[in-house]
Amino acid sequence: MSYRIPMGPYHPALEEPYKLNLICEGERVRDTELRIGFNFRGIEYLAERRNFVQVIALMERVCGICSNVHTLSVCQALERLAGIEPAPRALYIRVIVAELERLHSHVLWAGIAGKVMGFKTMFMTCFLLREKVMEALEIISGNRVNYAMNRVGGVNRDIDNPDSVLAVVDFLEREVNRVIIPVFASNRTLLERCAGVGVLTQEQAKAYGVVGPVARASGVPEDIRRAAPYAAYSEMKFEVPVETSGDVRARLLVRALETLQSCCILRQALKNLPAGDWWGPTEEVEVPEGTGISRVEGPRGEVLYSVTADGENDTPRRVKVRTPTYANMPSIRLMMRGARLADAPLIQASIDPCYSCTDR
């Protein structure tokens, strides 16, 4: 006999609302229904009522943790539409902030994953590291979240002391190698908790179009930084970690290894920061009629923005946002099938979901 367990919208593992209806037989989950929309703010609708400068500030509010990828995406879409190419220094600064944001997101998520597994020491350790990343972002932007770094054609702030950020990168790389990687790669308790749990096969990952670390943990080597480089990524040397087991452990490990790659990219970008202009056009940018599209590899995966202008008004006709969690969340249903009920919070947390992004 099957029975239904409603989980949410106030979630036991994460602080944002969404709802799972778990259809169980005994201790096993047979099927799952997902309900989203509790954070629906109508941001795409609001964007059609803001001018092109205000839209950048609005889109920074789509997500609290990966706010920079949204302003970067919308600025790139507008730059493509207006035919503007930012200066090399601005492109490097964009890479630096994007990678710091990835570090922030991945380290935060590692802590949350530790907490969900009852590993409180890991939670505390990761949040200590996260503080260091936020300090670096504060050095650059003056803000711990919502960095307001991107503008059409450039960035809003220069990095005048790259060495101060490099010191943070050195510290983070050392600590990730010392603490996080050994735990996620070989800790016996953690492996027993995560290995073989919430499996998403490569075939399923492709069919559901999942992106980012979730896809890469299922053997799909997609990374927009490599496949369709933007900003200064074509000048960076880095690897794209891929695992094939598709379980919670693989998702943990891919993100942990990605933090090291982010440190590698940051070191290159900070050491080779080109001299010159970073601000971009000083006149108001004319946005012609048409649609500009931009993709960015956010911490959770590919973000797509499509911005349409009519060439007459200073407000966009349409701004479409496709966030990574929107692509990843439907696959939870597959990961849950046959899982133990007790693993449900960990499985859904393993995609690093962002519900405010998803609902917009």
Partner: protein, 135 residues
């Protein structure tokens, strides 16, 4: 790029192809959406999403189907005045949520599928992004 050329030739859409503003755009006069989806999936393309917008000049709804093929962004564009299009959800499970969202935002009917509420609550009217004078 040769893969894209081959697929567009197979679909008879090579004439409607141009590169601009960050994407390969394919905007034919008429688009067989299910044939497009089948051909792209058979060649390993990844479905990304659909952008929908209501056009102010004639009230029709424009839909841009975004796909990734080896890092190239392909955008197939079509228009519907009647707000009715075939669903590709059965071919491509990744299209499930976005078809439901466009149904709720723009009242577009995707034929051949059922809907559950996604962003609006059960029983609420659809077409929340359709301008009031057109609703």
């Amino acid at each position: 790029m040769s893969d894209i050329s081959a697929i567009l030739t197979e679909l008879g859409l090579a004439e409607a192809w141009e590169q601009r503003n960050g994407s390969q755009w394919i905007a034919p006069k008429s688009l067989d959406i299910r044939r497009m989806a089948s051909a792209l999936l058979a060649r390993g393309a990844r479905f990304i999403t659909i952008t929908a917008m209501q056009l102010p000049e004639d009230g029709a709804t424009r839909l841009d189907y975004h796909w990734d093929m080896d890092g190239e962004l392909l955008t197939f564009t079509t228009k519907t005045a009647e707000k009715v299009l075939p669903s590709i959800y059965d071919l491509c499970p990744a299209a499930d949520w976005i078809e439901r969202e466009i149904h709720e935002y723009f009242a577009v009917e995707f034929q051949g599928r059922e809907y559950e509420p996604l962003l609006v609550r059960e029983g609420e009217p659809v077409g929340v992004l359709v301008p009031e004078e057109d609703a």
